[in-house]
């Protein structure tokens, strides 16, 4: 199976799953993955790809699952050392990242 998030997302859609795609849209300082990096998320929580070194994926998936079964939408997230939740989901490397989540319906 390919590691490509988009290819996996399409396969999941074809099998009837709703999916979300998270994309790093901006980085400041020392961020683990460059802008454009993507993470595909299936409605049961399975994920392929990455938007960080593993630091924020858990929270990104949680956010994606909140909106994955609602009408197609986007959500913007920002993580960094200045974030209130830095201790839980901040970036160990001290960088900041901004992430956009797109949801896609299997029947859309």
């Amino acid at each position: 199976m390919s590691n490509d998030p988009i290819e996996n997302a399409l396969e999941w859609l074809k099998k009837g799953h709703n999916v979300a795609i998270a994309t790093v849209v901006k980085t400041w300082g020392s961020a683990p993955r460059k802008a454009g990096s993507q993470l595909a998320i299936r409605e049961d929580g399975l994920m392929i790809g990455s938007v960080s070194g593993g630091c924020v994926e858990g929270d990104v998936v949680a956010n994606a699952l909140e909106i994955i079964n609602t009408p197609a939408s986007v959500r913007l997230l920002q993580y960094g050392i200045t974030n209130d939740t830095a201790w839980e989901v901040g970036l160990a490397c001290g960088g900041d990242i901004k992430i956009r989540i797109d949801t896609i319906k299997s029947n859309g």
């Binding site: 994309t23 849209v25 802008a35 454009g36 986007v74 797109d102």
Partner: protein
């Protein structure tokens, strides 16, 4: 985003063309722009920048944030010399999303079975290079140890825009090579484009380790600005 857009993205990736996804940061609408549509687009400047620099750009335009997410065909690696190092190099290069082509006129080396996942061209570099576009997303590595094979490939590469040229061989071999090329009319500045001895100096010993040092050097050329590469090399030398 919808299913049709994902299908379009994969279709265009497979066609190996450059394209760009454009969306307003907080709005659920994404369009794919490619080929001639790029010049006509109201944001063509940013689309071209994203594609040329191969990085996503988030830009505020008239008070609204726009995302320009470029997709480029994979970088290419041309390996001249289907030797043992080439077998390891082709595997790690492919894992780093390079599209690998192997060239060697010697049939025993250029056996497809030795490179099950790659395009193998059993021909002299001159002929093989006729069907390859050595563009600015292409790296060329010569590994044959045979000057009559390596030199042809290196001359073709020096006359192209490829972003990386590397030649296997000791310092002594490389010095002799440079002398031959100067005699053939190349100047020193041009010849600096050849990375020789090839690879970052990690004291690699086995073919597998040499492949890693070569791949690391290729990536440094792809990802660093030109000046930084010189600096990087100096730092490595002075360690």
């Amino acid at each position: 985003m919808d299913k049709a857009l994902l299908e379009k993205i994969i279709k265009n990736k497979n066609k190996k063309i450059s394209f760009c996804l454009i969306s307003q940061a907080d709005i659920n609408e994404t369009v794919l722009v490619k080929n001639k549509e790029i010049d006509k687009h109201q944001f063509s400047e940013f689309i071209k920048k994203a594609i040329n620099e191969d990085r996503l750009i988030l830009e505020e335009i008239n008070g609204k944030e726009w995302i320009f997410n470029p997709f480029n065909p994979p970088a290419k690696l041309i390996i001249v010399g289907a030797v043992h190092v080439a077998q390891s190099l082709s595997i790690i290069a492919e894992n780093a999303d390079f599209e690998v082509t192997i060239i060697d006129p010697r049939e025993a080396f250029a056996a497809q079975e030795r490179f099950p996942n790659n395009k193998v061209i059993c021909a002299w570099p001159d002929d093989a290079f006729k069907e390859i576009d050595l563009d600015n997303r292409t790296a060329v590595v010569t590994l044959t140890h045979e000057p009559n094979l390596d030199d042809i490939a290196l001359k073709n590469s020096l006359n192209s825009n490829c972003f990386y040229i590397g030649a296997l061989g000791s310092k002594k071999t490389h010095k002799k090579r440079i002398d031959r090329f100067i005699e053939a009319g190349f100047n020193n500045k041009t010849l600096k484009r050849i990375n020789g001895p090839i690879g970052l100096p990690i004291n690699a010993q086995t073919p597998q380790e040499i492949a890693i040092s070569i791949m690391a050097e290729i990536i440094s050329s792809l990802r660093f600005q030109k000046e930084s590469i010189e600096e990087l090399r100096e730092n490595w030398k002075n360690r």
